[in-house]
Structures are given as structure tokens and as C-alpha cells.
């Protein structure tokens, strides 16, 4: 589907409803190399001669196939993924991208959340993605293309053979002739192949078949050579003797960072994202990714960020190659740092980067006002280094210092419609209300949800006999049932 998606994403293509096919040459024949959903619904399929397709469907749109451009576009997509998702991404031609999410999935909230996010973002850009996570490249390749249903698929770790068994042989990344030969012999699924002795298979089809099988099952290694497009700044150091001590790693990180910063400076750029890849002697790769809130090329600061992450590197029997890549770089012009006339405000970008790489970029934030009367909607999180908003919230009504994550139901005794409660019981404790202020009526935002068209909340500020102050509300105006349930809720605690 990739060539079709690529064409349909192009701005100059009229988004016609006419079914679209791509035509390429196989020998002397012009055949369909890709067909969109609409075309396949009309009975066209890949490999059918174009003349026949034209006879079947009169108003067919035919575009020439362009494998070279497809591959280029796929590389651009892979680069986009490399900059956002994980340090190791490679193109899996003709229509796939393989990502090593080991150690990167938790940054996105787990494997399921990562797939969900990818699905959403790719669909928005006009691509029809099929996603799968599995233990090996081969298994993920097979699952993504051949599992049933369109939902993303996550193979449970260690159960690769069981997951692969029902898939067809075409999922195996074999030459078409081999697949045809296996079908002739009566093999239908990968499970049939797994159950067959390897010797006769190898004699008949060559070593390639068993190699692909081993790779899919994880018995043979299949390293992913990360995509490194032209123009990406990368520095690399290989060691005659494998290294493993934390101090040694830190020393070489410092040297790599110095080289990288020199290269960045030569181009007038600063790094926004750094990937450190440590290739171990057992052919595994340990990755470290750090992000920066603003473009930086200060060696001391970058070194500090990377060395903070050394405890997450498992050197195993030793590291033989370290590469450091500025995956995402932005122009950075030198700026005057200080002036005699005015004192520069303290630079907290370094601190924000340190904290963000320690607890995650989403956990360092500032709060900014939103024009909404509904308390839980009046605050939004913005990036820690976003420009000042200037204003705050309207201050004519007191607001509590703590707001409960969601309002908690309380028991009360109150006179309807306008009076505050006489007492409330919250979390098993009964508070007699000594003083109260209110109501402050807040109307639902009908432009957001239909259910809020008539919703009302009446907020009261109450003080118990010990002086504790709470913010409670009643859902509804106290007279009309359609405005709310008339139940009471605790929503905040005043200081």
C-alpha cells in the first residue's frame, strides 16, 4: 500500500474517487504493481495485466510505478521516525520500516501506547499503517503484513513460534520461486515449516529458507543497521580493547561530545536530540537517547546529560564501538551571553534538560491559564521553556491550593436550593460547617459536549470548626433536575 499512499499524499494529485492503480513492466507485459482499496474491491489485483484491468474498470486512473521514488519517500519516513521514536530505525524495502523499540517504548508510555500514538499520527498524515511489535525483525515483518484485522498487534515475548505458526508462507521474506515451490509441496503455513526436518528442506531450497526461519524465530541474529542519511552528524570511535567501566565510558563520551560539538559548530547547528549507540562484543546494541529543550552545542552540558544515563548502559562483556549522533539538529547562531548594561535573566534551559532527561520530558512543565470557568479545564500544561503568558486567572473568587484529581462524592445535609450544607462527611470524617460562602454558579460548556448544555455546578467555600477550608459543589441548581443530579462533591482544599 505504500506506493499508493505516497501518491495519494502528494498535493498535486486530485483526490478523485476513481480507483487508482500503478502500472509497471514485468518483462514485456504491463502489469499492476499496486492497487488502492477501491480498485481491489472491483476485482483488480497485483500482477494482473493493465489491459485487462482497463477492460474491467472503464474510468481507471493509471499512474506509472516509480520504485526509486517510493524508496526515497520511505527513507524520509524512516528519518522522521528516527527523530521521534527510537535511535535504531531502518528501511525494510519495499514497503516497510523496522524500529528497534527496546528501551525506547517506555518514553512513550509502553508498547501499546507507542503503537496507538504511531497509528494516530501516521493515519493523520494519510498513510495506512499496519503495525506490529514482536521479538524479532522477521516475526514483526510477518505479523505486520499478515495478521488478521487492521488493529496493531503485539506478540507476547517468547511466544514467537506460536504467533507465527498460522501465518502464510508469503510472510517469510523468501524469493517468490521458493514460496511457489513450497506451496507445490503442500506447505501452507509457517507452522508446517517449523514442524518439518531442516535437512531435506535445505537440500531442496538452499540455506536461505532455514536462515529466514531462524531469523524469524530468533535463533539466528539479525542486526538492524540503523538508518544514517546523508548530512546527519555522527562521530564514532572503535576500541582495540572492549571497554566496560563506567569511568572509561564517561571519558569516551566526553571525547565524542567534543568532536560532535566541533562538527556542529562547523555547520552552525545545535543538537536537539542525541543518540549514543554502544555496540557490544556480543553484537547487541545499547542505546541512550537524550533530548534538549533548545538547540545546544555546549560540550560540558551535553556530556553531563549523557553521563547521567551511564547507569542504564549494560556493557555486558565490553563495548567495542561507540557512536554519537545528533539525530535532530537545528540552526544555532552564537548569541551575546552577557552585557554590561543589563543583567541577563538566569538561564534555566540546562536545568530543564537535566530534569527532563531524568524524569521524562512530559513531567517537567509549567501551567498556563485557559479561558474556562470549569476549574479542571482552566489550567493546561505547557512546555517548561515556553514564553511567559503574561496573565493569570481572574482573581475575584478564591481558589483552593489543592484540587482533587476528580471530584469526590460527599454526604451532606443541606437546604435546597441556595444554602450551604450544615455538615459534610468526606472520606469517613464528618465536618460541621461553621462558616460558608457561596454559591458561585458555574455553567457547563455546551460548545464542548452536548451533555453540558444545561449542566450547572454551585460551588461553596466552607470552613469547619477547626478552621479547615474546603471547596465543595452541588451538581445542579437545586431546583431543576435536568441541570444535575443534586449530589454534592468535594473538589478542593484551601490553604
Amino acid at each position: 500500500m505504500w506506493p499508493i499512499d505516497r501518491l495519494q499524499r502528494r498535493a498535486d494529485t486530485p483526490s478523485a474517487d476513481a480507483p487508482l492503480i500503478l502500472a509497471g513492466r514485468v518483462g514485456n507485459r504491463r502489469v499492476i504493481t499496486a492497487a488502492c482499496d477501491a480498485a481491489r474491491g472491483l476485482g483488480l489485483h497485483v500482477g494482473m495485466p493493465v489491459a485487462k484491468a482497463q477492460a474491467l474498470v472503464p474510468d481507471l486512473r493509471i499512474e506509472p510505478a516509480d520504485p526509486r521514488a517510493d524508496l526515497d519517500a520511505l527513507e524520509r519516513l524512516a528519518l522522521w521516525l528516527l527523530q521521534r521514536i527510537a535511535p535504531i530505525v531502518a528501511v525494510d524495502p519495499p514497503d516497510g520500516v523496522v524500529i528497534d523499540v527496546t528501551g525506547a517504548d517506555h518514553l512513550h508510555g509502553g508498547e501499546a501506547a507507542l503503537l496507538e500514538m504511531l497509528l494516530g499520527r501516521l493515519t493523520l498524515t494519510g498513510i495506512t499503517p499496519r503495525l506490529a511489535i514482536a521479538d524479532t525483525w522477521g516475526a514483526a515483518h510477518a505479523l505486520a503484513r499478515h495478521h488478521r484485522g487492521d488493529a496493531p498487534c503485539i506478540a507476547p515475548p517468547g511466544a514467537t513460534a506460536a504467533v507465527l505458526a498460522p501465518l502464510p508462507l508469503a510472510a517469510m521474506r523468501l524469493a517468490p520461486a521458493t514460496v511457489a515451490g513450497l506451496l507445490d509441496l503442500g506447505f501452507a503455513t509457517i507452522g508446517d515449516l517449523i514442524a518439518t526436518p531442516r535437512g531435506p528442506l535445505t537440500r531442496r531450497f538452499g540455506a536461505e529458507l532455514c536462515r529466514r526461519l531462524d531469523q524469524a524465530l530468533g535463533d539466528a541474529p539479525e542486526p538492524i543497521a540503523p538508518l544514517r542519511p546523508q548530512g546527519l552528524i555522527e562521530v564514532r570511535r572503535s576500541f582495540a580493547e572492549p571497554i566496560g567501566a563506567a569511568e572509561t565510558i564517561a571519558r569516551y563520551i566526553a571525547r565524542l561530545v567534543t568532536e560532535l560539538c566541533a562538527a556542529l559548530e562547523a555547520r552552525g547547528q545545535g543538537a536537539r536530540r542525541l543518540d549514543l549507540l554502544c555496540w557490544r562484543v556480543d553484537n547487541r546494541v545499547q542505546t541512550v537517547r537524550v533530548g534538549l529543550a533548545t538547540a545546544q552545542r555546549d560540550p560540558a552540558r551535553l556530556t553531563r546529560l549523557l553521563t547521567d544515563k551511564i547507569p542504564t548502559i549494560d556493557p555486558g562483556f565490553g563495548i567495542e564501538i561507540m557512536t554519537l549522533t545528533a539525530t535532530l539538529a537545528e540552526p544555532l547562531v552564537p548569541r551575546q551571553a552577557s552585557s554590561l548594561l543589563e543583567q541577563a535573566p538566569p538561564d534555566i534551559a540546562g536545568l530543564v534538560d537535566l530534569l527532563a532527561n531524568r524524569v521524562g520530558a512530559r513531567a517537567v512543565y509549567r501551567l498556563s491559564p485557559v479561558a474556562s470557568d470549569v476549574p479542571e479545564r482552566s489550567v493546561t500544561r505547557v512546555a517548561a521553556l515556553s514564553p511567559d503568558q503574561g496573565g493569570g486567572w481572574p482573581g475575584h473568587w478564591p481558589r483552593p491550593a489543592r484540587l482533587l484529581p476528580r471530584p469526590e462524592p460527599i454526604e451532606t445535609m443541606a437546604l435546597l436550593p441556595d444554602h450551604p450544607p450544615k455538615w459534610i462527611a468526606w472520606r469517613g470524617t464528618r465536618h460541621a460547617v461553621a462558616r460558608a460562602d457561596g454559591p458561585e454558579r458555574i455553567f457547563g460548556e455546551w460548545w464542548k459536549r452536548d451533555a453540558e448544555a444545561r449542566a450547572v455546578r454551585d460551588y461553596f467555600r466552607i470552613e469547619n470548626e477547626a478552621g479547615q477550608r474546603f471547596w465543595i459543589f452541588r451538581a445542579g441548581d437545586g431546583e431543576d433536575r435536568s441541570t444535575g443530579s443534586h449530589r454534592w462533591f468535594m473538589h478542593g482544599i484551601f490553604g
Binding site: I348, V364, R402, P405, E463, Q468, G495
Partner: protein, 249 residues
């Protein structure tokens, strides 16, 4: 009289020297309430130190009163404020009404107490911040000494806002730490208004422990929108000496 004062000053210098604080001219932040400032060792809250704040017995779980007290102190210090939390239930409009506008605060949500303390230490070491507030449950002697040293080297003030998920753990507040002062702030009933409604908050401000100072407690009005505490009218009208002896016990 002046001899005694000179001796006292010399002794104080010597203690400061022993504590290794002679490098900095020790700066303080006055609360702006003379009755309170007079009773603090240097006429105010020492800057570049670690201080502890906790809520009273009812407020140990939510720490809303203590949060307002800390926000009021942070609001009156220049520079950005780092507020480290483990649960994100602070309500920024409420903090703004305690004097801390949203543009000045950067929040860090740490997963557990250990990374929370690490974030606080990073903030204190950085030096560009006005104050660092951390809502922490357990604070050991070692951790607090680290934080105190970090605050001392950079001159940033640290406020450890003690807050316990389980109020029964609040006994932990009795354990010694390296903090310069330790405050307990609890809510008191506000002064009845002549009309129905709730007046300005009143707090019982207890200085439980202070290095080179004496513990005391007094009743004050809560932070206004500039972060200043106030002296209740019924106390302010009395002569200061009498107030010191009677009203605050």
C-alpha cells in the same frame, strides 16, 4: 549592655565560622510582620538554606496550608521557582492567589521520593532559581544534609514541604534533619464576619525548631496575593510586649 551584645555577636560569628558559613554574607528574607521577624534568629528566614514546612495534624495529608505558606515565601524571592511533586494536585489559580503567578513556577513530577529528592538537589545546585519547593514524605538526615549543602553552595533557598500519604506517618516529622528551620502551619477558625461568609484565613504558625533560635508559635493571617502574612487585628492592637507574652503562649 553593649559589652554583652558585642560578646554575643562575636560568639555568633564564631559559630557561623564553625558551620562553614562565613563565605556568604548571610542574607535573610523578612516576613514583613515585625512581631514574627523579631523572634527569628537573624530577623528573617535565612536564604541559601534548607527549611522544612509541614501542615498541622489535620493537614498532614493534603498540606494545602503548608503549600500556601511555602508559596508565599517563594513568591517574595526573586527568580523562577521549581516545584517538585509526586502527585499533581496543586491548583495553580490557588497558588497565584498566594502570590505565585504561573509564569514563575516550573513543575517537576517525579515518580518516587528518591528521584524527587534528586530533582530538588539539581534545582538547588543550579543557582539560577529563586527557590526550590519539594513535596517530600521521608527526609533522612543524610538527604537533608545533602540538600542543605547544595543550597548553601548556590545560595538558592530550599523548602521541603513535608506531606504524607498516610497521616499516621506524620510522626516522621519528629526525626532530626539538617534543615535550618522547621515550621508547622495549621489552620485556625477565621474571625467571624458581621455578614455571612468566610473571612481571611488564620494560621497557627509554629516554629518547631530553629538553629540558633528558639521555638515559638503565633497566630497570623494567611498569605495575601503578594505572599505576605498579616497580623490579626485583635493581636495588632495590643502592645507588642504583651502580645509576645500572652497571645502566643
Amino acid at each position: 549592655m553593649s559589652d554583652a551584645r558585642l560578646t554575643l555577636a562575636a560568639l555568633r560569628d564564631r559559630i557561623a565560622h564553625l558551620e562553614g558559613a562565613e563565605g556568604h554574607a548571610r542574607k535573610t528574607l523578612a516576613f514583613g510582620v515585625p512581631a514574627l521577624d523579631r523572634r527569628l534568629p537573624q530577623g528573617g528566614l535565612a536564604l541559601g538554606c534548607l527549611h522544612e514546612v509541614s501542615g498541622g495534624p489535620e493537614g498532614a495529608g493534603d498540606g494545602a496550608v503548608a503549600a500556601c505558606f511555602a508559596a508565599g515565601i517563594a513568591a517574595r524571592l526573586p527568580g523562577p521557582v521549581l516545584w517538585c511533586v509526586t502527585q499533581g494536585d496543586l491548583f495553580a489559580p490557588g497558588l497565584e492567589q498566594a502570590g505565585l503567578p504561573p509564569d514563575r513556577v516550573i513543575y517537576v513530577e517525579a515518580g518516587d521520593d528518591i528521584s524527587l529528592l534528586a530533582c530538588m538537589e539539581e534545582g538547588l545546585r543550579h543557582g539560577g532559581l529563586g527557590a526550590v519547593v519539594a513535596e517530600v514524605a521521608r527526609l533522612s538526615m543524610t538527604a537533608s544534609r545533602r540538600l542543605h549543602l547544595a543550597a548553601k553552595t548556590s545560595g538558592t533557598t530550599g523548602l521541603a514541604l513535608r506531606r504524607w500519604r498516610d497521616p499516621a506517618q506524620a510522626e516522621d516529622f519528629g526525626q532530626p534533619t539538617a534543615a535550618m528551620t522547621r515550621w508547622r502551619i495549621s489552620a485556625l477558625p477565621s474571625v467571624p464576619l458581621p455578614v455571612p461568609g468566610v473571612g481571611r484565613a488564620r494560621w497557627r504558625v509554629e516554629l518547631v525548631r530553629a538553629r540558633a533560635g528558639e521555638p515559638f508559635e503565633m497566630i497570623l493571617e494567611g498569605c495575601d496575593d503578594t505572599g505576605h502574612l498579616g497580623l490579626p487585628a485583635d493581636v495588632a492592637d495590643r502592645p507588642a510586649a504583651a502580645a509576645g507574652r500572652h497571645a502566643f503562649g
